[in-house]
Amino acid sequence: MLAFLLRRVIQAAAVLAVVGLIAFSMFRFAGDPVNQIVGPDTPASERAEIRKSLGLDDSVLVQFARYAGDVVRGRLGISYQFRQPVSQLLAERMPATLELAFCATVFALVVGVLMGVYCALRRESWLAGLFQAVSLIGISLPTFLIGILLIYLFSVTLGWLPSYGRGDTVRLGWWTTGFLTWSGLKALILPSITLGLFQMTLIMRLVRAEMLEVLRTDYIRFARARGLSTRAVHLRHALKNTLVPVITIAGLQLGSVIAFSIITETVFQWPGMGLLFVQAVQNVDIPIMSAYLLLVALIFVTINLVVDILYTVVDPRLRLSTATA
């Protein structure tokens, strides 16, 4: 168990190192960092001066080591666009993205699992057919199109919900939250649905397929043959077995919610990290791009680790330390 976790941690560190290398390469080689700081009419001597002061003349290895050291200490460089430290920009934007991702995740998990279970158990019903059709649309339509559609329906036509921004937020230390105001909560609804819809359909399809598979297994047939109530067979045995593999995939998917928020944040002009990243790509703001990439990698790796640990908790077969056979 401990060895397993240790191996996972090492793997996670390796992934981070690879992404760090990519981020560093972007930082260092995509475009000339000097050009981003000075104007085109700066004399060559001054350029060389800056080069030296930035440490761009050192060997690549030294530069990478320095970059890694800076990253660990939270020094992510200065944004070309905003002339502000990237770490500060990200910290300002992070609460917006995390709150959005959290709401989208809860929406996706709760609705996705419920719909998936329903579709598996009532395969022939018209409602299951409807869910399937909705899931097809959810999985087919690009996120931005869904966002636009929701805005057109609920903001433009009905005027019920805001179409952009976070509404009023409340400061709690360095964190800003939209959960504590009415307008903040209303502003969360459409972006959360937009962001969560794809994951929701994915989870629904996964739960449905997995549950149908589980319902065909011997132990479910045996559970029926033992005369257990349908409820116990479905909701105790089948559901638990369904959710074990779903946890892994759903968990990994949830990481991508944060990355997918790029699109949703653009549609709803949501002041989060995703919007910052898109603006950085449009304006070739490399420090923000590489820092965002690192941050997303860190989030992914952390989620992966947590999912692995969760998995061993849920599935007794993986709790090797308790094996007595």
Partner: protein, 326 residues
């Protein structure tokens, strides 16, 4: 025969497929008495397992019972509501599946699975159910049951898991047990132990057993009577000694010829030429007629009804004396 526990008459099971209905079980009839073990043999696809599933009411869609009746102690069970049938399962009919490795829910402790079964059918408290579960595990020969009861299925070996499955099937003291290939997935050395266990338990509890298998060795060892199935029909049914020693139906004859015995010196086992027809292409008349060495014209047009020959009932025109006399 003593009191009849299970009585199956003209049972027909149909699968509704895209290409029309397929008859998997075609007018199958048999009885099982108290404490009796009826072996059901046949090649894979002969309908043995489907018959078992039909009796316990667990035929998967698109299959359905389309004819005949199933009586448990005289009471019809094939027409029960799903909820009433659920109460019969586990309580009055127990079932043992082929693969003990996949029969137990991997995420639940074996004790919890037994307790859950007990409490589904009895009024036992959680505590007494647990005590009873330990007794059951002890009865099926699991060492240190008070400790093993908290183990997960993956911590048991195949043979031990099959013992747990048997304990589960016996939990509510059913009148009938359907054992579907209970030893096929086990090591040869473990097979005998499981069969001995099954025999002993059924004798002690007076449970009737429908033992589905394709292993004639198991039948010879355990069964009192045997039904030979072919293409969804019963070809021959009778006392196990009679059917093995002197089979009548040409298919049963071929089947017995295919069993290796120590006394047999021949290098080759006799084989039945051809293979069993698929459900989509069951021939007219006797289903065995294209492969039968003794086929005659009547076999190709008229389906033979079971005829009493000695102690067995045989579905074959060869034994229709009235016809021959006429």
């Amino acid at each position: 025969m003593t009191e009849t526990i299970l009585s199956v008459r003209d049972l027909t099971v149909t699968f509704d497929t895209r290409r029309g209905p397929l008859t998997a079980i075609d007018r199958v009839s048999f009885d099982i008495g108290r404490g009796e073990i009826l072996g059901v043999v046949g090649e894979s696809g002969a309908g043995k397992s489907v018959t078992g599933s039909a009796v316990i009411g667990l035929i998967d869609r698109p299959g359905r019972i389309s004819g005949g009746e199933i009586r448990l102690r005289g009471e019809r069970i094939d027409t029960l509501s799903p909820e009433a049938m659920r109460r019969v399962r586990g309580k009055r009919i127990g079932m043992i599946f082929q693969d003990p490795l996949t029969s137990l829910d991997p995420l639940f402790r074996v004790g919890d699975q037994i307790v859950e079964t007990l409490r589904a059918h009895t009024e036992l408290s959680a505590r007494t159910a647990r005590t009873r579960a330990i007794d059951l595990l002890a009865e099926v020969g699991i060492p240190a049951p008070e400790r093993r009861i908290d183990g997960y299925p993956h911590e048991f070996s195949g043979g031990m898991r099959q013992r747990v499955v048997i304990a589960l099937a016996l939990a509510a003291e059913p009148e009938l047990i359907i054992a579907d290939e209970p030893t096929t997935a086990l090591d040869v050395s473990v097979q005998a132990q499981i069969i001995t266990l099954l025999k002993r338990l059924c004798r002690e509890h007076g449970t009737a057993v429908m033992l589905v298998t394709h292993d004639m060795g198991v039948i010879a060892e355990a069964a009192d009577r045997v039904a030979v199935m072919y293409a969804g029909r019963v070809a021959e049914i009778g006392p196990v000694a009679a059917v093995i020693a002197k089979p009548h139906h040409p298919y049963a004859v071929g089947l017995m010829g295919a069993i290796p015995t120590l006394s047999q010196e021949a290098d080759r086992l006799s084989q039945i030429p051809g293979s069993m027809p698929r459900l989509t292409a069951i021939p007219q008349g006797c289903a065995f007629n294209p492969r039968c060495p003794k086929v005659f014209s009547r076999c190709r047009v008229e389906r033979p009804e079971p005829i009493l020959v000695g102690a067995s009932r045989v579905a074959c025109h060869l034994y229709d004396v009235t016809e021959k006399a006429a």
